[in-house]
Symmetry: C3
Subunit: 635 residues, 3 copies
C-alpha cells in the first residue's frame, strides 16, 4: 500500500523542500499529491508558463524516490482569467455571479472556462506525462460547488446545455411537458427557449430530477474533456482519476463518472457515524471492482485510529493520502490540521503513528488488482437523493428521514453481521449476487422493477426496506406505491402521507419483542406474503411491519419501516436463505468484514471500549481483545 | 347547500372523466370548481385557443347535472407569455425578478400582464358565459404572493401606480411629507419621482401604511379589470367572485374587494386554533350580509370533523368545495391530500363522510339569501395589521402579541358565551348594533373616534381591549394613547413602551380572583370610569386592569390588557347591558352560535372530549351529549 | 460638567420651542445637540437653503443661554441627492444598491457624496461658525452602516480607493501577493485591476485585514474632509468632533480617527455587562488624554442609575447628552425612549433625576483639561478584532470566545482591584506605564514585540492572557505562537487548534484551588518561566496554566487561558510588582476607580445589592453603605 500526503511546493520555500521530503520519508510516506491549486504559479499570465521551479521539485521528488500524483489546477482559475472573462463564474438563482477568491466558483458548463481548463491540463500532461516520478493524474479537485454542494449555475452556458440535454433525453416538447407535469399550473412549454435551469422553488419533481442528472452528466463531461487531453499524452502506466466528495447527499453519480476514468478515489474524512466511511469505500471499490484511492484523509491521528485506516485497506484502498503536510502562514484554510507545525517540524505523534501503521503486516500485503464481487449487494440510487432536492414542501416532507440515513441503517446491520456488500446502482447487473439489499428506494423505474423481478424469480434473495418504488424515473407516482412489484413482494402498499405526531413513538411487535420504528411507516396489506411483525400503534396499527414472501425460486424479506431491529431480524433470515455466512458483532460499533480474498475476517472496533471476542462472535481460533479504534485480521 | 370539489380536467385523461364524475355523485358532490390554473391548456400559444376538450368536459358535467365554477387562470401565466414579457414578473426589493414555474409570481400592477389577464377572462366568459352548467366565476386564485403573503413588487409599473395613488390620496408633496414624517432623517420629497415602493427597512410607518393600502387597492383594481369584462358577458344568474386567503395577517382589505364582486368566499383550511375559522366566516358573511362560499377546504376528514362543516353552514356558507379530487403523478403539489388515491379510486372513508354530511337535516335546509345583522359586532381594522408590516424595530416591538391573536381572544370569549357577531371594519355604520367589541385597535382615525362616540352616546355598549387608538390613520401617535376618546372611555392612558421582563407574569385582581394578563398592559388612570379590576404587579401595578364607564346613554367596558378572564367578565356584563342573551359553554373548545334566523342554537364541539350539555349551559329542553368534533342544533 | 439633550427643532412646531427649552432648563439641561439629520430641512432643493427657521432657533437657544452642538447632517442625504445620483448609495456584495429612506446607507468613498457632504458642512460652518451659542461641531452621526456595523461597499468608488490604498501600503503586487498568500488557490494578482473589495467568503486573512484597515482609514478620510472645511471657518473656541459607536466589535480605529479631531466622544448606552461602558470611556479619554463627550446616552433613568453617570464623569466625560428630548408622531424611531411624552410634557421622574444629578457635588467639580496617564495600560488592538471578520470557517473558529469578551475579563478584574488603566493601541509609547495588560492579542507585529521586549527589559511589568502573538500584521502565522517573544515570556507555545468537546469544562489548579478556564487554552511549555498553576484536564493537561518570568529588569505574568480567577491572582502579584495600589471590591459588580487627580477613590455599585464597605476593601476612614446603582467618592 502507498502512503502519502498532499504537498504545496508552490507556497513552500524551495530551500525547505528537501527537508520536508526527508521528513516524509522518516514518516514512511512515499507518495505526493501536488499541484491541484497551482494554476497561477504555473501560468502567472496567460500563455506564460513557469516550469523551472516545478521541474526542480519533480526532479527532487524523483531523486528521493517519491511517487507523484499531479492534480490539474482547474478548481482555481487565476485572476487574469476571471478578470478577463467574468462570465466563467457560477451565476446564482438571483442572477448574481460568484466572486473570485475562493475555489470551485467557476461554471463547469462555460465554454471559455472549459477551453482554458483543457489547455492547462494539456500543458501539464505534455510537461510531465513521461516524468519518471509521476504515477497518476487527478482531474480538478472535489468537483462540487464552493460549499461542497452541487453548484448549480443559472448562466447562459448552463441554460444552453440544459436545453440540449433535455432535447436529447425527451426528444420533443410534448414528451417533456408530459414527464414534467407542466400542464398543471400552465407551465406547458411551446418552445425550447422557454425552459431554464429550475429557479422557482416550486419547480416540479421532473424538472428537478432532470436538472440534477444533467448536472451530474455535465461534471462527467467536464472530467472527460480533461481526460481526453491527458490520456493520450501521458505514459500508459499513469492512471487518470479525480477525487470525489459529497457522495450520498448530492445526487451526483460518481459511478457514472468512474466510466470515464482509469481509477477512482475519494476524500475520506473521519466520520463518527458508524459505517458511513465504509459504505463509501464499497461504492468506489464496486465502481470498477478494483482498488481505489483515498486521495485525502485527516492528517491528525487524535485519538490514534488504526481501525479507520485498516478499514480503508480492507475495503479496497490501494493508497492513502493525508491532507496535508504543512500549513503556510497566510493562506486560505491555514488553520486546518497538518502533519507539521507552522515551522515545518513534523508532529512526533503523527510520525509515530505512520511508522506504526507502515510496519503492520496487513499494510504490507500486496494489493489485489481486481476485487471479486461480494455475494451481497446494496442498491444505491442517486435518483432517490435527487427526489429531495426540490424545496417545495408540497412535493416532499423535509421532516422525513433522509435517504442517506435510510441507506445507512441496513448497511450498519450488515456490518455487524459481517456481510460484505458491493454498492451497486440501477443498471448494474444483479446476476452475480445472491442477496440484494434495497433500502428505501422510493424512485425506481419500470426497468429496475423488471430487473428485480428477474433476480428474485431466478432464486435471488431480496431484502427491502420501506419506502419502495413510489415514483418512476420521471418522478411520477405509481398508482399505488410499489405497484410494479406487487406480485414479487406479495403485498400491496397504500399511499401514506399522514405523519404521526412527532411525540408518538411508532412500535412493532416481532414475536414477543417490541421494537422501535421510524415514524414514516409504509401501510402494507399482505396478499401472498407471510407477516413476521406487526405495528402496535400509529397510522398502520395492526398492519404488517415485516414480511417474507416466496416468489418463484426466490424470497423477499421486507421491513415496512426503517428499524434496526426489524432489519437485523430479516437480514439474518435472508442471509441464511442466501447461504451467506453471518457473524455476531461483539459491539454496536464493531464492524466485521470478511476479506474479499476469502482467507480471513477483519474486525474493526470503532468504539471507545475494549472488546472481547469470543466464539459466539466469530468462529475462529483467536479469541482476542481489541482495544478502542483498533483492527484485527482473524483467520 | 352545495358540495363540491376542485377538479383539473386538463391534467386528467379524458377517458377517466366520466368515472370521476360518477364517483363524485356517489360521494354526494354536485359542484365542480375548475380551470383556475389551466391557461396553457386553453391557450397553448398566444391567440391559439383549444376549447374542444373543455367543451366536451363542460357538456359531460352538464349532462351529469353538475354545477360548475370557472376560475380565470391568471395566477399562472404560461411560458409563452413570461418568456416574451419577462417584465410582468414581480420584482423583489433587491431588483431580482421572480422566476416562472410557480404561481402568483406575476406583478398585478403590470399593464402587459393585466392586458393578457383581461383577454383570457373575456375569451372564457364569451365561450361559457351562457353554458347551462356554469353557476359562477372565480377571478384568479388566492390573490396573494407565491408564499400566500402580499407580494409587493418593486417594478416600474408598481412604482408608477404607487405614485399615482399617493397623488390622489395626499394631493401634494407637502401633505405627504408631513404625513410620512419625512422631515426627520432628511427624507422630504421635493418631486414625486423621488418616491418609491418602500425598500429601506427603516421606512416610516406612514409609507408602510400607504403601501399596504395601495397594494390592497391594486388587487381590488386587478379583480375589477376582470370583473368588468366578465360581468356583462355572462348570464345574469352567474355570480363573479374570487377565493380569498390570508385575511387577518396580510393587511389586505377583503371587505373592500367584496364591493367589486357579486358574492364572496374564502379558502378555509382547518385550524386547531379555537374560533379562528369561524371569525373569518363572519367577516365574509358580514361583507355582503349574504351567504358566502367556501371555495376550498381540506379533502381529508381525519379525524372526521362534522363540527367544522356545520360551523361553515351555520355562519353562512352556501357551498363547500373540497381541495381536491385527485392528484396527478407529476405535478407541483402532488403530495397534497386528495379525495382519491393516485389511481383515482375514492377513499371509502371520505365517501362515507360526505354521504353522512349530505344526509343530515341541517345541510338540507334552504340557505337564506340574506343574513340579518347580528346584535353585536366586532371591529376588525386592516390598518392595525398594517402597523406591524415595517421591520424597523424602533417603530414597533415584534415581541408584542400580534393583532390577529388580540382579535381572537375576545372572539373566543364571545363564542363561548354564545354571542353571535358581525365582523365590521372602520367605515361600517354602527347604528344597527347594540354591542361593539373593539379588540386592541391601536390605529383608529378621528372619524372612527366620532363614530364610536356617537354609538355610545346614543345608548350603545362598547367593549374595548387594550391597546386603543394609539395612532391616527397616518400612523401618527396621538399626544396620549386614546386621546380622542378620553371622555367616552372615562380614563386617560399613559404611553407605555416599557416591557416587563419576559419572565414576569402580569396579573390582575378582580374581586377575590387573580387573573393572568398579556404583559403589554395599558397604563390607565380612571377619571370618571369605575375600576373593576386592578393590576397586582408589573409596570402598571395598582392601576386599573378593567373599568366600566357610563357615557351619556351608553356604557363602556374596557380591559387594559389582553386577558381572557378579564374580557369574559366584561363581556357578560356588557351583554347584559345590551340585552343580548348569553349562554355558558360546557367546554373551553365548545362554541355556541345562535342561528341568525333566530329559531335555534348551534353547539360545536371542537374538543376531543364528549360533552354533556345541561340546563346551566343552554336553556333548551334537549340535554344531549356531544361527541368530539360533532355539532348539534338545539331549539 | 455640561448636561444636555438631543433636540430636533426641524420637526418640532416652532411655537413649542420656547416651552421645550424652558422645560429643559427646569431639568438642569444647558446643552443642545441638534441638526445631525436635518439636511432636507436646510437644503430642501439643491443649492436652495432655508435658514430662517434655524436662525430663529439658534437665537432663541442663545437667548436662553444654551450651548449648542451642531451636527453635520451627512448621514441622511436628501431625496433630491439620492435620486439624482443613485450611485452614492452603498453597494452590497451581490451588487445591490442600498435604498434611500434610512440612514448611513450612503457610500463614504463616493466622490459625489463627499462633494455634497463637504458643501453642506461648509454652508453650516459659514452660517453658524461665529454664533455665540455654538460650542462645537459633530461630523456626521455614528459613522457606521445602517445596522451600526461597518458598511462595506462594493461600489466602483470603494474599489478604486481600495486599490489606491493597497498600492500605497504594499508598493508592488509581488509584495501584496506574498502578504495575502494568494499563491495558494491560484489567486496571484498580475494587475491591480484584478483586485476587488473582498467578496468571496473564503477571502484570505490578509485581504480581510487590509480591507478593514482601509475602511477605517476611509472613514477617517471622510471625517477629515469635513474637518478641514469646518475648522478654518468656525471660531477657534469651537471644537470639531464626531460621535463614535461600535468600538470593540467593528475593527474601526477610533483612536486613529481622534487624530483628526479636536475632541472625541461616543454614544454610551447602558449595558448590563459589568465594565463594558467604562472600558470604552477609558479608550476615548486615552485617545487625547483629555476629557471626552458622551454624545448620546439613555434618556430613561429606570431604574435610576447615578453610578452609571458618575462613572462617565470619573473616567473623564466633560458633558453628557441624552437621546432624546421628545418624539414626534410620525417619524422613524418614534417609539424610542424620550424625556417627554408625545405631547412634550417632561416625565417628572426624569426631571427629578436630572435635578438630583445636577445638585451633586461631584458633578459640580471643575473638569480637568488634561488627564494624567494612568500607571497601568491595557492594550487594545483593532487588528485583533479584524481577524474575526472573515466568515471562512477554516481561518478561525467562530466558537471561540470573541476578542471583546477577552478584553473585558482582565478589565473587570482590574476594576474590582481598583487599578485604573489607560486603553492604548499598538504604536502608543509604553514608556509612561508601569504595568501593561495584554489580553489575548493574537495579532501583533514584530515591531510591537520589540516594544514589549523593551518595556519589560527596562523594568516594566507585563500581564498577558492567552492567546498571544499567533499572527503578524499581515495575518501570517508565526512559526509557533508567541515566537518573537519567547525569551521575554520564558516559555514556548504549541499551536493549538484542537478544541475540547463542548461538554468538557477546562480547569486549572492554583495551589489548592481548582479554577474554571475558557476551553481555548494555550499549550505552553515553560523554559525559564516559573509555573504558578497547571491544567488538570483537557488538551493541555499537566501543562502550565499560569506562569511568572523575570526578564532583565522586568517581570511577565501570564495566564494560558481566559480565566477570571487566574487573572485575578496574577493581577494582584503584578500590581504589587509594579508598585500599584490595589483594593478589594466588596462586590462582583462594584468597580473601584482611583481618581486620576489622585485625591480620592470612586466606588461604583453596579449591582442590585446594598454594599457595605469596610476597611478590608478600601483603606479609607469612610466605611459607608452604598445602595444599588449608586456611586461614592471616598477620600
Amino acid at each position: 500500500m502507498l502512503f502519502g500526503t498532499s504537498y504545496y511546493p508552490e507556497i513552500t520555500n524551495e530551500n525547505e523542500w528537501a527537508q520536508d521530503l526527508k521528513n516524509m520519508r522518516t514518516a514512511c510516506l512515499d507518495t505526493l499529491r501536488i499541484l491541484e491549486f497551482a494554476w497561477s504559479a504555473i501560468e502567472p499570465r496567460e500563455g506564460h508558463y513557469q516550469f523551472d521551479w516545478l521541474d526542480r521539485f519533480m526532479d527532487l521528488a524523483h531523486s528521493m524516490e517519491f511517487k507523484v500524483i499531479i492534480g490539474t489546477p482547474t478548481a482555481t482559475p487565476p485572476p487574469w482569467l476571471t478578470t478577463q472573462y467574468p462570465e466563467i463564474m457560477i451565476v446564482s438563482r438571483d442572477g448574481v455571479s460568484h466572486k473570485p477568491g475562493g475555489r470551485r466558483d467557476a461554471d463547469i458548463c462555460n465554454e471559455i472556462y472549459q477551453h482554458y481548463c483543457v489547455e492547462i491540463a494539456k500543458v501539464l500532461a505534455e510537461r510531465y506525462g513521461q516524468h519518471p516520478a509521476v504515477i497518476g493524474w487527478q482531474i480538478d479537485n472535489e468537483l462540487m460547488g464552493p460549499e461542497a454542494a452541487p453548484p448549480e449555475s443559472h448562466s447562459r452556458s448552463a441554460t444552453f446545455r440544459f436545453r440540449q440535454y433535455l432535447k436529447r433525453i425527451h426528444g420533443d416538447l410534448a414528451t417533456l411537458n408530459q414527464r414534467w407535469g407542466t400542464r398543471f399550473w400552465s407551465q406547458e412549454y411551446s418552445d425550447w427557449g422557454e425552459i431554464g435551469i429550475p429557479a422557482n422553488k416550486r419547480a416540479t419533481m421532473g424538472q428537478v430530477l432532470d436538472h440534477s442528472r444533467f448536472f451530474s452528466e455535465s461534471i462527467r463531461h467536464f472530467i472527460q474533456l480533461q481526460y481526453e487531453v491527458i490520456r493520450p499524452i501521458v505514459a500508459s502506466a499513469h492512471w487518470v482519476s479525480t477525487n470525489s466528495t459529497g457522495v450520498f447527499n448530492s445526487g451526483m453519480d460518481h459511478q457514472d463518472w468512474a466510466t470515464t476514468l482509469d481509477t477512482v478515489g475519494w476524500d475520506s474524512y473521519f466520520s463518527e457515524t458508524f459505517g458511513s466511511n465504509a459504505l463509501v469505500h464499497d461504492l468506489f471499490r464496486t465502481a470498477k471492482h478494483q482498488p481505489f484511492w483515498i486521495f485525502e484523509t485527516n492528517s491528525l491521528p487524535e485519538p490514534i485510529k488504526p481501525a479507520f485506516w485498516a478499514e480503508m485497506l480492507a475495503h479496497g484502498a490501494q493508497g492513502i493520502i493525508m491532507w496535508h503536510w504543512r500549513n503556510h502562514p497566510a493562506n486560505a484554510e491555514n488553520e486546518t490540521q497538518t502533519f507539521c507545525d507552522w515551522g515545518g517540524t513534523p508532529d512526533p505523534r503523527r510520525v509515530a503513528f505512520m511508522q506504526d501503521i507502515a510496519a503492520r503486516a496487513e499494510f504490507k500485503s500486496p494489493i489485489p488488482q481486481n476485487f471479486p464481487r461480494a455475494k451481497a449487494a446494496i442498491l444505491y440510487c442517486p435518483d432517490c437523493t435527487r427526489t429531495a432536492l426540490t424545496p417545495d414542501p408540497y412535493i416532499h416532507s423535509r421532516r422525513e428521514i433522509a435517504y442517506q440515513e435510510r441507506l445507512l441503517t441496513p448497511y450498519q446491520v450488515l456490518s455487524r453481521l459481517g456481510i460484505a456488500v458491493d454498492v451497486i446502482q440501477p443498471g448494474t447487473s444483479l446476476e452475480a449476487y445472491d442477496l440484494l439489499v434495497m433500502p428505501s428506494a422510493q424512485l425506481l423505474s419500470l426497468e429496475m422493477a423488471e430487473a428485480i423481478r428477474d433476480f428474485v424469480s431466478q432464486g435471488g434473495t431480496l431484502l427491502g426496506v420501506a419506502k419502495t418504488m413510489h415514483k418512476d424515473q420521471w418522478g411520477h407516482n405509481y398508482n399505488t406505491p410499489g405497484e410494479p412489484l406487487t406480485d414479487v413482494l406479495g403485498f400491496t402498499m397504500a399511499r401514506n402521507r399522514t405523519l404521526p405526531s412527532e411525540s408518538e413513538r411508532i412500535q412493532a411487535q416481532l414475536g414477543e419483542v417490541i421494537i422501535d420504528c421510524d415514524p414514516f411507516v409504509e401501510m402494507v396489506t399482505a396478499t401472498t406474503a407471510q407477516v413476521e411483525a406487526s405495528f402496535v400503534n400509529g397510522p398502520a396499527q395492526g398492519q404488517p411491519a415485516s414480511l417474507i414472501h416466496r416468489y418463484e425460486k426466490g424470497t423477499v424479506y421486507y421491513a415496512a419501516a426503517n428499524s434496526e431491529a426489524l432489519i437485523t431480524d430479516l437480514a439474518q433470515k435472508a442471509a441464511r436463505n442466501a447461504q451467506i455466512d453471518t457473524y455476531e458483532s461483539p459491539h454496536k460499533r464493531a464492524a466485521i468484514y470478511p476479506d474479499p480474498q476469502g482467507d480471513c475476517v477483519w474486525l474493526f472496533n470503532h468504539s471507545s471500549d475494549t472488546i472481547q471476542i469470543t466464539e459466539t462472535h466469530i468462529p475462529s481460533g483467536e479469541y482476542i481483545q481489541l482495544t478502542p479504534d483498533e483492527a484485527e485480521r482473524l483467520k
